[in-house]
Symmetry: C2
Subunit: 308 residues, 2 copies
């Protein structure tokens, strides 16, 4: 995220003055929490995806685009270890977009939603006057699982840092077909005390930075322990790809070391969990390279997309 | 709405297979109802607004656009006589859009939200790679008022048809500054048994047609009784303007005649309620002209925008 966008997001959060009783989690996490009854909350997230930015309709099918739009929001539900409930979808269509094309888009939306019991319950279809590009916005609700929702801000000095799956190179194809880690998140939260969690949408460095910023901690990760995807291994700099590419949509979470030992010893997959580092009190992000050298780690990644 | 879009919306609804216990109101009304606890539902709507279609950023300010985007969804909350709770907003920005401009947009969003206790709780900011146009999508939740939510599908043969305010000519300015009828809707539902309700987003003829289609009834309205706005009176054909212009965002509702007498005798405004016609069993819409002639009334209006 650019400095301006960071500043705007923080500014939005400062303006919001949400009553904590009604909105226990406000602007700045993967989802907001809205209290709707004495013991009942709903969680909400929204994501806008643009042709030419988040996908390219000359290469991706509309079914893939519908799937991705839903999967991005499902990944936010996962990031808080909550249970997806329903979604609404609005679209901006280039002039001349056909009913048949809408049905293809719809098939991708329901493919993703049906996997996680998260139906489409409404939407809005609008059309540009000319050939302006396609845009799709999803808003999704979730409800609490057996666990409490897991925030970005709970990381503690001494926690270890874990990720699911492997990172980097998502742009080679995974970004259209990735599996949101909804079930894994809830299973992880069931098996261990998790202090903080986020999904990696903008890159490991950017999203770890969000955990550090919101938890007011630092972090050190070990370059050799980062699970680099096969796609990223083909890149010029596989480590950089795994650190900064974004759109991995894997879970990044922190927990006490003892909890991690229990989790890792009992975890049966199929998605791998890898311990990649430790939360520190340095207030900055660092990376320990293979030769033992410790460098500062900068948050770099998608700078066109921010969640607030 | 064009025939294709009508067909697509109906097709989406048929595909949806929502369990009535979890989703008492599904695709096809102003909002969907999601049951989230034994006695607790949330309602949700989404609206996408596009530069060059729903507003023109060469004439409208960003504050007006933010206000309108929220007000359109607030009007959906009103259409079901529910209480707005919170909103999330996603935007697609032309390259070079500034933080200052985002703050102006935000001021309009909060101006509308604050009026109705409906804060912004999250969002997504995305940017086009070049100068593609600005788009904004709002998703809003509401909760039940003391009354039950009022659907489009409850109109009964013999009901009278009422509207709030005056109709037509919204494009001359009202569409950017209209007052969503949230408080009026809840007050109306408190004072009388209302069978069906919708907000007039696409024009009286289009939205009355939705009530007729979904309630499986016909309707006859009296041309002389339609409250024509001052803006529409300046149009070439004021009646046509009031029937078809759209973006009035007034309430259109039906109720038993006895109830209407009680409501109209006790209603203290400041927004007027006008009785404009009767629900029939003809299965079609008709209009009685000043000379006593009865014509078929066609649903015409915004064909670029459909809610499903």
């Amino acid at each position: 995220m650019s400095a301006i966008e960071d500043e705007i997001t923080a500014w939005f959060a400062r303006q919001s003055k949400l009553a904590a009783a009604d909105f226990p989690i406000g602007i700045g996490d993967d989802m907001a929490e809205i209290r709707v009854g004495d013991d009942t909350s709903v969680f909400v997230t929204t994501d806008m995806l643009l042709d030419g930015v988040h996908f390219d309709l000359e290469k991706a099918t509309l079914k893939q685009v519908g799937y991705k739009a839903m999967a991005v929001s499902l990944s936010d539900c996962a990031a808080m270890a909550t249970v997806p409930v329903a979604a609404v979808v609005s679209v901006a269509l280039p002039k001349g977009f056909s009913g048949e094309e809408l049905k293809q888009l719809h098939s991708g939306i329901t493919l993703a939603g049906d996997k996680f019991g998260c139906p489409l319950v409404g939407g809005d279809i609008t059309s540009w006057k000319e050939k302006e590009p396609f845009a799709i916005s999803v808003a999704m609700f979730s409800k609490q699982a057996a666990n409490k929702p897991i925030k970005r801000s709970g990381a503690k000095f001494g926690d270890v840092i874990c990720v699911t799956g492997s990172l980097g190179g998502s742009g080679y194809g995974k970004h259209l077909v990735f599996e949101p880690r909804v079930k894994e998140a809830i299973e992880i939260a069931r098996m261990a005390v998790i202090h903080s969690m986020i999904d990696i949408s903008d890159g490991l460095s950017s999203d770890l930075n969000r955990i550090c910023q919101q938890s007011k901690v630092g972090a050190i990760i070990n370059a050799e322990q980062i699970p680099i995807s096969d796609a990223a291994k083909k890149a010029e700099n596989p480590l950089s790809s795994a650190l900064h590419d974004g759109e991995d949509f894997e879970l990044l979470f922190t927990l006490p070391e003892q909890e991690s030992k229990r989790l890792l010893s009992k975890w049966r997959g199929p998605v791998a969990i890898t311990l990649i580092g430790t939360i520190t009190d340095t207030g900055k992000m660092q990376i320990k390279m293979a030769d033992g050298q410790i460098n500062d780690l900068e948050a770099k990644g998608y700078d066109h997309l921010i969640d607030y």
